[in-house]
C-alpha cells in the first residue's frame, strides 16, 4: 500500500470533529469553532443592549464592567485549572475569603505595608492549594470530599479570625483595583489579560501545561507515559489557589476594604463562567479565550437584567434561562456544523 493511498481526501466536515482535539492540545487556532459561537452570542447581546440603553456604549460602561469581567475571569480560572486536570475545587471562594482576611489582618494588625500584605495574602493561595492537593493525592481521598471539607475549614477560620469585622484598605492601596489608564482601561483588566495570555501559553506550549491536560484527559495513560500525575494534581490546586488569592486581593483593593464575606458567591460564578466558556467538566480541556468570553457573557447577562425592567424578583430566573440559552445556542451551532454521521459518535465520547 503506497503512502498517499493511506490518507483519504478530507472533506470540510472534518474541522468540526478535529477541533475537538485541537481545542485541547492545539496551538494555532486561537479561536476554535466553539468560541466563535460565544463571541457571536456576546456580540448579539451587546447590540441589543446598546439599542435598549443609549448610554451602554461608553467608556464609562467599559471601565466599570471590564473590571467585573476581569474579576470573573480570575475566579473562573481558579476552577478551570482544576477541571482541566480532571479534578475540581469547591473551596475557590473559601480560599478567597481566607486570603482577604489574611490581607486585612496583615495590613491592620501586623501593620505591614500594603504591597507586602498583598504578597502575604497571595502566598496563602498556593499554600492552601498545595495542602488540598497533598491530601487528595497522598491519602487518595476524592477531591470533592477534600475540597468540600476544606471549604468549611477555611470558612470557619475566616469567621473565627475576623469575628465578622472587615478591614479597611488604605487609599494608598486602591490604585490596583480602582486605577486605570486614561480613565477607561482599568489596570485590573490589563493585569488579567496578561494572566490569560500566560495561561494560554502555558497550556498550549509548555511541557508543564501539556502534562496538566494529559493528566485530566486520562490519568492512567498519563502515568504510564511517565507523567507524575500526583504532582500535576497538586500543581493544579496550587494554581487554583493562586488565582483565588489574586482575585481576593484585587477585589479588596477595588472595594476599598477586606470583607470576610468575600468569596461567598464565587463557587457558582467559577462554574458558571468556566462552563459557559467551554471548559470541559471531564477534564483535559481549557480555553482561555473561551473563559474570557464566558465572563463577558455572564456580566452582560447581569447588566442586561438591570437594564430590562422586569420584576427584579424574577431576575435569577432570567439569569438561569440565559445561561442555558447560551449553551444551547452554542451546542446548536456545533450540532448544525456536524454531519449526521458524526452525531451518533458524540454520545460515545460523552460516556467515556
Amino acid at each position: 500500500m503506497s503512502g498517499p493511498a493511506q490518507i483519504p481526501v478530507v472533506p470540510a466536515p472534518r474541522t468540526s470533529e478535529t477541533d475537538g482535539p485541537r481545542k485541547r492540545f492545539g496551538q494555532r487556532d486561537w479561536v476554535s469553532g466553539r468560541t466563535l459561537g460565544l463571541i457571536l452570542f456576546a456580540g448579539v447581546l451587546m447590540i441589543v443592549m446598546s439599542l435598549i440603553s443609549p448610554g451602554f456604549l461608553s467608556a464609562q460602561t467599559f471601565f466599570s464592567q471590564s473590571r467585573y469581567v476581569a474579576f470573573y475571569v480570575l475566579v473562573a480560572l481558579a476552577q478551570a485549572v482544576c477541571l482541566a486536570a480532571g479534578d475540581l475545587n469547591l473551596a475557590v471562594g473559601a480560599v478567597g475569603s481566607l486570603a482577604t482576611v489574611a490581607l486585612g489582618l496583615s495590613m491592620t494588625s501586623l501593620g505591614l505595608p500594603p504591597m507586602a500584605a498583598a504578597f502575604a495574602a497571595l502566598a496563602l493561595g498556593p499554600l492552601t492549594g498545595w495542602f488540598q492537593g497533598w491530601i487528595i493525592t497522598r491519602l487518595r481521598i476524592d477531591a470533592f470530599i477534600v475540597t468540600l471539607s476544606m471549604m468549611f475549614v477555611y470558612l470557619g477560620l475566616r469567621s473565627g479570625v475576623s469575628g465578622g469585622n472587615s478591614y479597611p484598605m488604605p487609599p494608598s492601596f486602591w490604585w490596583l483595583g480602582q486605577g486605570s489608564i486614561g480613565g477607561w482601561l482599568p489596570y485590573m483588566a490589563l493585569l488579567v489579560l496578561g494572566v490569560l495570555w500566560i495561561v494560554s501559553f502555558v497550556y498550549r506550549r509548555t511541557v508543564f501545561g501539556r502534562r496538566l491536560l494529559a493528566t485530566g484527559s486520562n490519568p492512567e495513560a498519563a502515568r504510564l507515559s511517565g507523567i507524575d500525575t500526583r504532582r500535576m494534581i497538586v500543581a493544579a490546586h496550587v494554581l487554583s489557589g493562586t488565582f483565588s488569592a489574586l482575585a481576593a486581593v484585587l477585589w479588596a483593593s477595588w472595594s476599598g476594604n477586606a470583607a470576610p464575606q468575600t468569596g461567598d458567591d464565587w463557587l457558582v460564578i467559577s462554574y458558571a463562567v468556566s462552563i459557559i466558556g467551554g471548559t470541559g467538566l471531564k477534564g483535559n480541556l481549557i480555553s482561555p479565550l473561551g473563559i474570557l468570553m464566558g465572563a463577558i457573557i455572564f456580566k452582560l447577562i447581569q447588566h442586561c437584567l438591570v437594564i430590562l425592567r422586569i420584576n427584579d424578583n424574577f431576575s435569577n430566573t432570567l439569569l438561569g434561562a440565559l445561561i442555558l440559552l447560551a449553551i444551547v445556542v452554542d451546542r446548536a451551532r456545533e450540532h448544525l456544523a456536524t454531519p449526521t454521521s458524526a452525531r451518533e459518535t458524540r454520545p460515545r465520547a460523552e460516556t467515556k
Binding site: 466599570s64 472595594s255 470576610p260 447581569q302
Partner: protein
C-alpha cells in the same frame, strides 16, 4: 438624550434581595413617590452580598442614575462603591445599617444597632426579673453588626449580676440552621436556659417558632424570649402569648426617609454636616402593644420627616 432622561427615574431605592424587610423598605419608597410625585425605581438584587450589591449598583450607575439609596450589606465594603458614586457627583444615602466611618455619604437612615440590641437585652433581663441564664443567638458571622450586637448584650449582662450568658450560638444565615443550633442548645441544656435573645431576622423567626412549640408543651418550663424585627409569625406568637417580645425596626421609614433625603439633595439642599446618622427609631413590641406599635413607629417617621429641612439639611444657595 431625551429618551434617556425620560427613561430614568430621579431616585433609585436598592433592595439587596427579596425579603420581608426589604419589601417593607420598598413600600416606604413607593409611598414617598406617591406622596410627592417623584418617581422612584425600586431595584431588587439577587443575594445579600456586597459583591452583588456593587455589581448591580455599578450597572445602574453606568445607566446614568443620579441618586441612590443603598443598604450597605457590608458596612465597610460599601466604602469603595460610595466613593465611586460620590466622586462622580451622584447622591447616595445609606439605609438599614450604618456604614463604616469615612464612607462618603451624608446620611445613614437606620436603627441604632447598639441601642436596639441594648433595649432588647434590657427587656429580657426585666422579663427574667434580673435572675437567670441567657442563650444569645447571633446571626451572620460576616456581618459587621454582629460584633456590635454581641458586645451590647454582653455589656447589659455585665450590669446585672443575677444574669449570665449560658451560651452564645451564631454563624447562622438560614432559618433552618438557626433552628438546628437553638434546638441543639435547648436539648443539650434546656434546664439551664431561662431566656433566649435573638438580634437577627432569621434567627428571631426560627427561635419564635421553636419556643412557641416548646412553651406550648405542657409542663415545660417557660423560656423567655426577645427578638428583632416584626415578622408576621413572630407577632402571631406574641399575640398568642407563646413568646414575649421583639424589637420593631422601622423598615418603612428606612425607605421613605432615605428617598426623602435623596429628593432634597437632588433639589440642591446641602447637608448641614459631612455625615449624619438618622436614627429611624425602634420599639419594643410585647403582647400589650402588638397591635398598636405600628402607629408609634409611623409617628417617629413623621417627626423625623418634619425636621429634615431644619435639622439635617440647609436650603440651596439660590432658593
Amino acid at each position: 438624550q431625551q429618551r434617556r432622561a425620560a427613561a430614568l427615574e430621579p431616585i433609585v431605592l436598592y433592595l439587596p434581595l427579596p425579603h420581608p424587610y426589604c419589601t417593607a423598605v420598598g413600600k416606604g419608597g413607593e409611598a414617598y413617590s406617591r406622596d410627592h410625585g417623584v418617581s422612584v425605581r425600586v431595584v431588587v438584587g439577587q443575594e445579600s452580598t456586597q459583591a452583588n450589591v456593587s455589581t448591580n449598583i455599578e450597572s445602574l450607575f453606568t445607566l446614568g442614575y443620579g441618586a441612590f439609596a443603598v443598604y450597605p450589606v457590608d458596612p465597610a465594603g460599601a466604602k469603595g462603591l460610595f466613593h465611586r458614586l460620590h466622586a462622580a457627583g451622584r447622591h447616595v444615602v445609606a439605609y438599614g445599617a450604618e456604614p463604616e466611618r469615612g464612607t462618603e455619604t451624608p446620611f445613614a437612615v437606620a436603627t441604632d444597632t447598639r441601642r436596639a440590641a441594648t433595649a432588647a437585652a434590657e427587656k429580657l433581663v426585666r422579663l427574667l426579673n434580673g435572675q437567670g441564664r441567657i442563650l444569645d443567638v447571633l446571626e451572620s458571622s460576616t456581618d459587621a453588626n454582629t460584633p456590635i450586637r454581641r458586645s451590647a448584650i454582653e455589656a447589659v449582662v455585665a450590669r446585672h449580676p443575677g444574669v449570665s450568658i449560658a451560651q452564645t450560638v451564631g454563624d447562622v444565615t438560614t432559618e433552618q440552621k438557626a433552628r438546628e443550633k437553638i434546638e441543639s442548645a435547648l436539648v443539650a441544656r434546656g434546664d439551664e436556659i431561662d431566656g433566649v435573645i435573638c438580634t437577627g431576622y432569621t434567627t428571631t423567626v426560627a427561635a419564635a417558632l421553636l419556643l412557641a412549640e416548646h412553651n406550648r408543651r405542657s409542663g415545660a418550663k417557660r423560656i423567655r424570649f426577645v427578638g428583632l424585627d416584626t415578622d408576621e409569625r413572630v407577632l402571631a406568637a406574641i399575640r398568642d402569648g407563646w413568646v414575649d417580645a421583639t424589637v420593631a425596626q422601622n423598615p418603612f421609614g428606612h425607605g421613605y426617609l432615605s428617598c426623602a433625603l435623596l429628593d432634597l439633595l437632588r433639589q440642591g439642599w446641602i447637608p448641614r454636616s459631612a455625615y449624619t446618622f438618622v436614627d429611624s427609631g425602634s420599639v419594643v413590641v410585647t403582647r400589650e402593644n402588638v397591635d398598636s406599635f405600628q402607629g408609634g413607629i409611623e409617628k417617629a417617621t413623621a417627626e423625623i420627616l418634619a425636621e429634615l429641612k431644619t435639622k439635617y439639611l440647609r436650603a440651596p444657595a439660590g432658593g
